[in-house]
Amino acid sequence: MGLVRCRHRGRCDRDGGKAVTDLQWLFAIGGAAAGTYVLRAAPFLWTPLRDVGRRYVDFLTYVSFAIAAGIVSKALLLDGSRLVLGMDTYIKFAGLAVGLGFYRWIRNIPLALFVGAGSAVLIRWLVG
């Protein structure tokens, strides 16, 4: 590779060209987008897969709950694929606790959401 001069020092291959050219990027994006679209659309468009969705509705329901829960614990404990246990983690837990506590009291999701996130931001600002 390396057909085009790259814009940034330190982001280039050994010959001073881009590691991936613009045309190659377009090809990569197009390929990944097409493959991803097939994954997204196949269950809607291919009848046998629709039947699979109907047959395994219980399994898919539990998977949905597990995905939602996993997103929560991943966002609280990980930064990308790295475990992070520091002040920010505790502040995130505090914000979550405030949000959940507020929800138990007021039963309003948008309000509890903003109170939870807002309190975490406030704590972080106070802690510095």
Partner: protein, 223 residues
């Protein structure tokens, strides 16, 4: 615009700040990988999956072959297959031509927010609701990417921190309100506890593998 689309827009608004924050990260990562700004926006518009985009940008800087980059970009998105499979149960009466277009916008948030809405005893057109959620999440993704490209790492840290909290807090609130019965609680507990260690063991796959495992274990236990 139908009332159900408006409800979807309102629900999607709750996760939009996190989407903006995540896609600001995509814009910054693309800048580091020396991706042209228009191609960065195109990647968010066409792939619309931040984890896959991060993986592709990272691989591009490490001199992987183009086909490897594409393969990883697609494989990381395997979870969308399961999400669409679940959504087929809610969109059974929607014509396929419409589904062919709207399938492009399936994401963890548009799927989960629609899934949780389906569990409420509120008669509504779930497809309209989904379209409303998509309007917010997709717009947020494109706006976030553009911000990331333009301001790069210049976003105030406190703002970036706050924006990332909307998604986990929102899904926690939905889980607290919607989880019923011991089997659903079990699925939630497995997802909560198993996802982080699995994500450390198999980066990019932990969430998907933990969820499939939780679904299988709980379904077998129930039978």
């Amino acid at each position: 615009m139908s009332e159900d689309v408006k409800k979807g827009i309102k629900a999607g608004g709750a996760v939009a700040p996190t989407f903006v924050a995540i896609f600001i990260g995509v814009g910054i990562a693309a800048e580091v990988a020396d991706l042209p700004p228009l191609a960065t926006l195109l990647s968010s518009a066409a792939i619309f999956a931040a984890p896959a985009q991060f993986a592709m940008f990272d691989m591009a800087m490490q001199d992987y072959a183009l086909l490897q980059i594409i393969s990883v970009g697609v494989l990381v998105n395997l979870r969308f297959f399961v999400m669409s499979l679940t959504l087929t149960n809610f969109f059974a009466t929607v014509p396929r031509t419409r589904l062919a277009y709207w399938a492009q916008f399936v994401s963890a948030s548009s799927y989960l927010v629609t899934f949780f809405q389906s569990r409420r005893d509120e008669p509504m057109d779930l497809f309209d609701f989904y379209r409303g959620v998509v309007f917010m999440t997709y717009t947020a993704a494109i706006v976030g990417t553009a911000i990331g490209v333009v301001i790069g790492a210049g976003l105030p840290a406190l703002l970036a921190f706050g924006a990332t909290l909307f998604l986990p807090i929102y899904f926690s609130l939905l889980l607290v309100g919607e989880t019923k019965g011991r089997y659903e609680v079990a699925a939630v507990m497995i997802g909560l506890l198993v996802t982080p260690p699995l994500e450390l063991l198999i980066p990019g796959w932990g969430l998907f593998v933990a969820a499939i495992g939780a679904g299988a274990i709980v379904t077998v236990a129930k039978r």
